[in-house]
Amino acid sequence: MTASNDSSDVVLDVTGLTKRFGGLIAVDSVDFQVRRRQIVSLIGPNGAGKTTFFNMVAGQYEPSAGRVIFNGKALHGLRPHQITARGIGRTFQNIRLFTNETLLENVLVGMHSRLKSGPFASLLRLPSQRREENEAREKGMALLHLVRLDRYANEAAGNLPYGMQRRLEMARALASEPQLLLLDEPTAGMNPQETVNMIALIRRVRDAFGVAVLLIEHDMQVVMGLSERVTVLNYGQKIAEGTPLDVQRNDNVIEAYLGRRHKRPEDEAADGGTH
């Protein structure tokens, strides 16, 4: 990981991003950058605006103010499907697989924006369409193998247990050939062993595909073990940013997570003794 300050190295550049829901400011002018091949975590207490931030980057919500630049181009006004086509793939906090479809079909849906065949080419099964389908299937199986689900390729996705569904969602997001992968709590609800495997998978996906990864995470083991940079949101505002170690020591962060100590004068005196 070479951290250069060259601006072409920045894949996602967010400035002053704000989202208001009526009187509530869910995200309050957040500046944020992700560099190529970087793994960045977005953390913060519940309701800090992390998912809202994600949804604005992915185009699900229209920002109230601010701009999102991806690969040097503004994403303003683009619909979610256009943003996926530009190269941002995502997973969802509460897994959103196509439960009636097979695993392979789920991954193929992920490739939608990279495939071209229209309905008439499919009706006539033109050679170009057949070639494209075969290649897509091969690629889909390779992705399923990567997340170790290839042997269930023809199983309905809804039949998978929870941890495996998370892995499938990852493969599906990768199928859109993203340059930036948004992972919304990738280890939520996982047992410790599954979590360790997921950390390994995310890191290796980054290494193999060269994607930048932006993740929302509550599990501090994941955040500290995986991310190169951490950004902390609280009440919609960015309160800290830096390496995992910096953030862990940051007073604002400790306060946001644990609350402020209301000190009485006598405590202050006692503190002096213990420290």
């Binding site: 979610p80 697989l97 390779a142 193998h145 309905a156 998978l201």
Partner: protein, 413 residues
């Protein structure tokens, strides 16, 4: 213990898609069904079943259900006004071919006289219905679920009403007749005797049977191809989870428009054949009840599964057109056999044809309670849980990474 296929340099064994075992079993069933259906007109003659005339509208209705299944089953858009497209198809064909249509005053002798040909009219009907489907689709795109269903219901009501009231063009409630008949090898369908290569044949309605069959087969073929294409997967994705589908790069607007348009276009051909077969069409054939029956066929059999839809259609239609009548006859005969006048009278008062909607309704209530996913559901849920690979196999090893890197990740321009 199952092991995942290992990546070895130069070999790409892992890309093989495992075969679906259910497919083989289905193939055999399909072959038997196809053989029976193709030979049916001769079996009918041979055994004197006299159900050919019931089979033709039956197959037309099943083809309609297949078209509706694209909208309801594949894309998950509840359409309560599908009969409107059927009407548009039938009237479009009638417009071009009927001597009573306003076009009949203009077309003969003009350079467009070829448009009066049934086959041309049928293709026009497909295009017009498909266009109407896109037209209805446009205002419904922002709507979901119940709201969408209401708009389609409204459309289904408007179309017969328009037909009734646009008398100068549609002949209002009287309907249009006659309608141009299809012909092949110089032989008009449904007109006897029929001369092919100097032979005089009495074919009756058999040509219509095969025409319907061919159109039905083309529909099945086309629908299977669409289902397994990029568009078909997009439909399923939109149906299962629209937000996630958008996140995967699917444009919900065009995807839904294609569903409405392609779904409607299947009813175009069906409507054209239906008109030519009956030789008369009137607005009351395309009322709300037709939409509902077709929708029931889709849901009863198993929404989203074309074999289920066909089975549902077959059950409903064969009861409606064949068995209700025959069963009633048998019950009356059974009553007469007892010789007792009161029992005979009681049995004779039993008329399934009159109470067919009651029977039909009861069946729907029963099936929806016992098997809410339809007789042949789209995809079966598993009874046993799937197990993950053993721990040591879960950690992605280096070779997988090379396989992963194999997947092209070119930057989009």
């Amino acid at each position: 213990m199952q092991t995942a296929p290992r990546m070895t340099p130069g070999r790409r064994a892992y890309v093989e898609v495992p075969a679906d075992p259910q497919q083989t079993r289905n193939r055999i069933l399909q072959a038997i069904a196809v053989a029976f259906i193709v030979a049916y007109p001769f079996l009918d003659l041979l055994f004197g079943w006299q159900a050919l005339l019931a089979f033709i509208p039956m197959m037309l209705m099943i083809t309609l259900a297949l078209g509706l299944n694209i909208v309801v089953g594949y894309a998950g858009l509840l359409d309560l006004g599908y009969a409107a497209f059927y009407a548009i198809g039938a009237y479009a064909a009638a417009f071009f071919t009927s001597p009573n249509s306003p076009l009949a005053r203009v077309l003969p002798g003009s350079p467009f006289a070829w448009m009066q040909d049934f086959w041309v009219a049928m293709i026009m009907a497909v295009l017009v219905s498909g266009f109407a489907g896109a037209l209805l689709g446009a205002p419904t795109l922002r709507l979901r679920g119940d709201y969408l269903a209401l708009v389609t219901l409204g459309f289904g009501e408007i179309v017969p009403r328009l037909i009734k009231n646009l008398e100068p063009w549609t002949k209002g409630v009287k309907g249009m007749n006659p309608i141009g008949r299809p012909y092949l090898f110089g032989c008009q369908f449904g007109v006897d005797p029929c001369e092919i290569l100097g032979m005089k044949l009495k074919l009756g309605m058999i040509p219509y049977y095969y025409l319907t069959l061919v159109i039905g087969a083309i529909s099945i073929f086309a629908i299977i191809r669409l289902r397994n294409s990029r568009l078909g997967r997009a439909w399923a994705a939109i149906r299962d989870d629209e937000i996630a589908a958008q996140g995967m790069g699917i444009n919900p607007v065009t995807t839904k428009l294609w569903a409405f348009s392609l779904g409607a276009s299947f009813s175009g051909a069906t409507g054209a054949i239906f008109g030519a077969y009956l030789q008369t069409i009137s607005p009351d054939q395309f009322e709300y009840s037709t939409s509902v029956i077709v929708l029931c066929m889709v849901i009863l059999g198993g929404t989203g599964n074309i074999w289920g839809v066909m089975l549902g259609g077959l059950l409903i239609q064969s009861f409606d057109r064949i068995f209700a009548e025959r069963l009633t006859g048998w019950i009356h005969k059974a009553g007469a056999l007892t010789g007792d006048p009161t029992i005979t009278a009681a049995f004779n008062s039993f008329d399934l044809l009159k109470s067919r909607l009651l029977v039909f309704g009861l069946c729907l209530v029963l099936i929806m309670n016992l098997r809410p996913q339809g007789i042949l559901p789209n995809r079966k849920r598993r009874e046993t849980a799937l197990t993950d690979l053993p721990e040591e196999d879960l950690v992605p090893e280096e070779s997988v990474l090379i396989a992963g890197a194999d997947v092209p990740t070119e930057k989009p321009r």
